[in-house]
Subunit: 432 residues, 2 copies
Amino acid sequence: MNTLIKNATIVTMDEDNKVIQNGYITIVDDKITYVGKSLPEDFLPRVIIDGKHKAVLPGLVNAHTHTPMVLLRSYADDLPLQEWLFDKIFPIEDQFTAEDVYWASMLAVMEMLKSGTTCFADMYFFMEEIAKVVSKTGIRANLSRGLQCFDTDFDPKQDRRLLENEQLFKDWDGEGNGRIKIALGPHSVYTCVPGYIEATVELAQRLGAGIHIHISETLKENQECLNKYGKTPIRHLYDLGVFNMHTIGAHCVHLSDEDMDILKENNVNVVYNPTSNLKLASGITPVKRMMDKGINIALGTDGASSNNNLNMFEEMHLAALISKGVEGEPTLIRAYDALKMATINGAKALGIDHEVGVIKPGMKADLAIVNLNKPHFYPMHNVMANLTYSAQAADIETVLVDGKILMEKGEFKTIDAEEVIYNIKKISERIF
Amino acid sequence: MNTLIKNATIVTMDEDNKVIQNGYITIVDDKITYVGKSLPEDFLPRVIIDGKHKAVLPGLVNAHTHTPMVLLRSYADDLPLQEWLFDKIFPIEDQFTAEDVYWASMLAVMEMLKSGTTCFADMYFFMEEIAKVVSKTGIRANLSRGLQCFDTDFDPKQDRRLLENEQLFKDWDGEGNGRIKIALGPHSVYTCVPGYIEATVELAQRLGAGIHIHISETLKENQECLNKYGKTPIRHLYDLGVFNMHTIGAHCVHLSDEDMDILKENNVNVVYNPTSNLKLASGITPVKRMMDKGINIALGTDGASSNNNLNMFEEMHLAALISKGVEGEPTLIRAYDALKMATINGAKALGIDHEVGVIKPGMKADLAIVNLNKPHFYPMHNVMANLTYSAQAADIETVLVDGKILMEKGEFKTIDAEEVIYNIKKISERIF
């Protein structure tokens, strides 16, 4: 299927940071075949998207979330962390069925597509349900089964979660024209005994899978790790061999200088979750120091229970603002830096930057199209500043993944929105 | 004209913080006549607004902005403060004509109405143009002529700016069925010599006008004030008699304990501008300490050049997040607190809380109606958390001021949007 986008402002996010005014993009099947100032003569499009008053950017990558937690959106807010987690979140999550997870993830995908997100990294349970959602909806994802084990005598051959993650990999890795990637999801140093993390690394090596893990989210986590193992979570994970694998490290809020050197030397990808870190009062992520070290920093929403949405425009906005304010330096994290975090850096974090994250020929056509014809974008001085500081998720008009239009003017092409809302209401009535 | 809103979730913001499910609001002319669970029998509406899947909240109050600065939106970002102000903002502002200010303010009102703002406090020049905009569009506003004077030998009877502000008061205060209030706008302690501030206070007393002023926005301002006058800006303004008048104090980022006591004892209204303070790296406003003292804290966007929009949902969102993260306390600034800042506290700051800010009989019908039927609001656990943490400005569907619908589903009833955009483009081409 041939698609043409014409007369658009193209925010390529390509190395030389170029924005093409009145540009053309041609798409053949799942791939971009041309990006430039003129319409290729021999191109016969079946679908034409008029880009007048519109910006096209690489689809946003939400590099750390737990999609089914949308069921807990606005259920428990403004509470102390322990009360929030143990009295509110955990008891409810215990009641989730496979079917609940399916519909919740569907709702999350609706929200993400509507806000320009074309790819997400998810860690949860009943992950085969989420794989089905990704397969059906046409979005792109990195999925990992959340793994935890407090028992030092566990048997890796019998561990239910490890077996589930392995099966998930066998059943789903590479499915959906390569849109689905499966990683392993050891939850954190405080929920996995060291031997279990080693068993996970071993499995990752055997399968050729990456790892998605929470790291140094809170001071408490760091303190307990230092007390127990005499080292920081990052040093501990390094010693256990985790960083030999491609790693998505969510949070990384509390880091020593040595921690950052380890992250850099091992090409560990950090996912910054500004809303979640602020809302749960986890701390202020040292973004400037990590950027100075050259560490790859992607952006994530975390779960909707600590956000309360899956809106990457809010994360870009916050990322661009927080460091300026906290470090007292208005030149920190420019609009372009925030856009990078949400696009190419996210693609790198998920190990798919050869496929998505910039707009250029040969890449997959994962695109978010923003309607710029809104009062809050006029006058048009700088499209990157407009996208980072002024845009709302609702400005997204069209979203393509793998060359297919999945959402256009609020309408979903692969999702029955009414069916999803009907089921979410039913689930919500049952559980709450 | 009788209007009925039926079956809505009404977020009254009334003292007892009550939310009415499936509620009714009746409006006669400019005023709310009933709020409750049942439809008054004898009410014959001419307009009926179906509130199913909708939340009605008091129209948001943007308590500190400079509307014409939308012309500078995304023109200069991520720059050091001095370069931003002296090389970029000031030289451009110098070129603004009265007509430019008119159209720019029109654009700002479009943006504000679309995002649920029904009232704003503005300080700028060519203010009679903005009064015309307020009069024509039907929005509510507190307008002050920005006053500055570096000359200790000025003559208050000859000072152009003071005379303009006085004339503005005489021509416009109370106009538009009371929608327009005129205040005096001494810019700050660093742009007004002490005698000039005293002359402003004298004029305010003579007219019975309030004062709108920037206070302690940056550390530099405080340092210079201490060096020059041996006291903090707040002590200095107190000694000059400013706080004898109803005062809107924008920013108040850098405060001593004594400063806060002065603010509290004199009922000075603080306007917190979270985006602007972060973006310009002005500092972290001590919101918790001010709340503990019982100081009234409203919210503002500041000008679009330091934001880059006039979106009060972003300010609520930031207000609820920043203090949690910076103070390390997830219970600080609850969703309800943020909503209060944007509604009733804003009304108090502008001295119109007897007219707007809560939804109850006798108040002016300034209302913002949010469409809750969006993926990012499901499931519906808590409407206040949804509005503060998950809502976008674009979720606003209908806005009423003084009982009149000014915006409905993106359409303006009193503004020719195409004419405004046409003129903004023309102005932008001329100036930039």
